[in-house]
């Protein structure tokens, strides 16, 4: 039992910039012929363009004991997906060595191998075969898979007629009912509605507690915190922190906060193909100036600029307040303005939300923003966070309900009403 389930030593993976920058590009015969003719003695193009190569992974070392659930976190482009691809043998390493003990399955994308024309039943078998499950194994687990996905009535209908929810549930069910010793999961839980996510999370916890080794990539720190015993933080292809989940998440959150701009402001690049996106978020003090430091007793005005490009029903914008990678609370703009679910004016929209005070205790918090189509998909989910501090400038340090040094996140002045003296508890 002492041998690790995963041992990665000195692993590196190099990409040629050309092939990375244009993943879907390919050579045409003409280019190759012209290159060969113009430089007939340059046999190896790799060697000639050595300088234009980048390392997606550089000298990665770690071991994972059997049964551990490890979160892999980092910014986009930090090398998380490349690492998972090399581990699941989709891409090959440039140097280094990986040892895997036991059967490995990867959940890099639910629904891989699903064919829209085939029925649910047929797709279960196809998708299971692609992920390496034998036919007899699939037959044995078939009822369980269908029950988990809750699609019993539609199992013989082509999946192209399924709702998004049904499709996702079935796809996840197939993937989750494999019985691998090592399971690799990449952001699969970022889809589907809340009930589905909860169900998947439950299944994941079950997988984690059944002694299986799990590598879990996610931008959702709450999920990483809830599921993982340990976390590895990647940056620019290197492991920069490896250890206890909460301390690694804290370090990650710190790296996320470093953004350009004035304190209390966050500007996000325009992405013209998004139906709705957040372009700017600002925290304003009572005078309307951007600020990132607020007293526990002063309300925070949050100004969000939304660019709505398509008039699709169900568009919503939301933010969450994080502390140590966990959500303290979240707020959706459509809850108080339900009309927006049906019509939303296109163009630049400014929204103001006031976070009342006192509400949260002193400490460092981060705001996370996203937009979505209700119950369908996330539209814009920028990784960058807007940090702010709550301080105890005006408050008497002896007021323990507000004190940051006491446990808990909320600073709520609750009334203690006297209900009598000398009354026995039995009454």
């Amino acid at each position: 039992m002492s041998t690790p389930a995963i041992r990665v030593s000195n692993l590196s993976k190099q990409f040629q910039i050309g092939s990375l920058a244009s993943r879907f590009d390919y050579y045409t015969l003409r280019e190759v012929i012209v290159n060969r003719l113009s430089a007939p003695f340059h046999r190896s193009t790799d060697r000639a363009s050595q300088k234009s190569n980048i390392w997606a992974l550089k000298d990665i070392n770690f071991e994972v004991p059997r049964g551990q659930v490890v979160g892999i976190i980092g910014h986009n482009g930090a090398g998380k997906s490349t690492l998972l691809k090399v581990l699941s043998r989709i891409a090959e390493p440039t140097t280094g060595r990986i040892e895997l003990r036991g059967r490995l399955a990867s959940l890099l994308e639910v629904g891989t191998g699903f064919h829209p024309e085939l029925s649910g039943r047929e797709n279960v078998f196809l998708s299971a075969a692609i992920s390496g499950m034998s036919r007899s194994e699939t037959t044995r687990r078939f009822d369980e898979i269908v029950a988990f996905a809750e699609v019993d009535k539609f199992i013989d209908m082509p999946v192209k007629r399924y709702s998004t929810g049904m499709y996702m549930r079935l796809a996840f069910a197939v993937a989750a009912h494999q019985q691998p010793d090592i399971l690799i999961i990449d952001e699969v839980l970022s889809v589907g509605d809340a009930a589905f996510q909860k169900k998947c999370l439950g299944k994941m916890e079950q997988v984690g507690s059944s002694g299986r080794t799990v590598l879990f990539v996610s931008h959702n720190m709450g999920m990483v915190n809830a599921l993982c015993d340990r976390a590895i933080l990647l940056k620019a292809g290197q492991v920069i922190e490896d250890g206890d989940t909460s301390s690694v998440i804290r370090r990650y959150v710190q790296t996320l906060e470093t953004h350009d701009g004035i304190d209390g402001e966050l500007y996000l690049p325009e992405e013209p193909n998004l139906a709705i996106q957040i372009t700017c978020a600002r925290l304003l003090d009572s005078e309307g100036n951007p600020c990132s430091r607020f007293d526990v007793m002063s309300p925070i005005r949050l100004e969000v600029t939304l660019n709505v490009r398509q008039a699709i029903p169900g568009l919503l914008a939301a933010f969450a307040v994080y502390k140590n990678g966990e959500t303290v609370f979240a707020s959706w703009d459509t809850d108080t303005q339900p009309d927006r679910l049906h019509v939303r004016s296109t163009g630049i929209n400014k929204e103001i939300v006031t976070i009342p005070a006192p509400l949260i205790k002193a400490g460092r918090y981060q705001l996370k923003f996203w937009t979505a189509v209700a119950n369908v998909r996330v539209v814009h989910n920028p990784a960058v966070l807007l940090p702010f501090d709550i301080v105890e400038d005006t408050i008497d340090a002896s007021l323990l309900s507000y004190a940051g040094r006491e446990a808990g996140y909320l600073a709520l002045p609750l009334d203690w009403v006297h209900a009598g003296t000398g009354v026995s508890t039995a009454d």
């Binding site: 390919y26 891409a91 003990r101 036919r135 082509p158």
Partner: protein, 312 residues
Amino acid sequence: MKDIETESVGEANSRSKALNLELDATSHSAITPEQSVTGDELLVIVPPSGWISINWIEIWRFRELLYFLAWRDIKVRYKQTVMGAAWAVLQPFMTMIVFTIFFGRLGGLDTKTGGAPYPIYVYAGLLPWTFFANTISTASLALVTNANLITKVYFPRMLLPLATAGVALVDLAVSFGVLFVMMGYYHTGVTLHVLLVPALLASTVLVATGVGLILSALTVAYRDFRYVVPFLVQIWMFATPVIYPSSIIPVRFRWALSLNPMAGLIDGFRAAFLNRPIVWSSIYASTAISFVTFIIGASYFRHVERRFSDII
């Protein structure tokens, strides 16, 4: 230059094997499942190099996937088509009628078939040819159309082009039925030569999948091959005695025909169905070339396979 290879080794030498692989790591590929003391499979992934052998053990382990991929293509093909399997019959049958009119009657080839009726003569050649042409055309696109699988999950990529032969085989089986009906109609009779058909078919599958593997790998790297393949299929048909009997080729050029494995195989199919003398030498040569084509195709495929997920 990397590559991945799987070997099965027993428990006893697993330690020394792992050590060897360690030393080998920079020069040779290795993904090695072996039984460890705990009973778990150990898989070692290291960058490999050079030309790698074809991993038959792994392909065998994934044989069910080969079946499912072929089954998927067959299912999808017949969903939402009104006539279903009839298309498999109609395509070569209509081609046969066109050829009979233009090449047989108007071209005067119907006198050169050695006594066999031209329709059945051309149909017996068209069946293996249609199988070959369909296999290499669909195989050449198999990787590109399944790009989402290649970038998402690991399995021997070779299965994708190989599975396309399955669809073509089902079509072939259906059209064989029509051939037997025609044989009854023309009273050609069935002889023991028919027993040769499975062997000929095996060779045809080898050459078709061999060429298909090469073309599929080339199509990933050079999308030009999308346009090259239909053209290649057309030229290849005229270089093969499908429409005409090989006897009309002048003797001094016959050697060139024997380099084309489909030539010997199609002559073989005709000999088997139409009870004509079997030219063993040409069948042996075609079988040998088919085998070599498959080995070359599979080796080339393995050699370039490692780049697929990066460039597709």
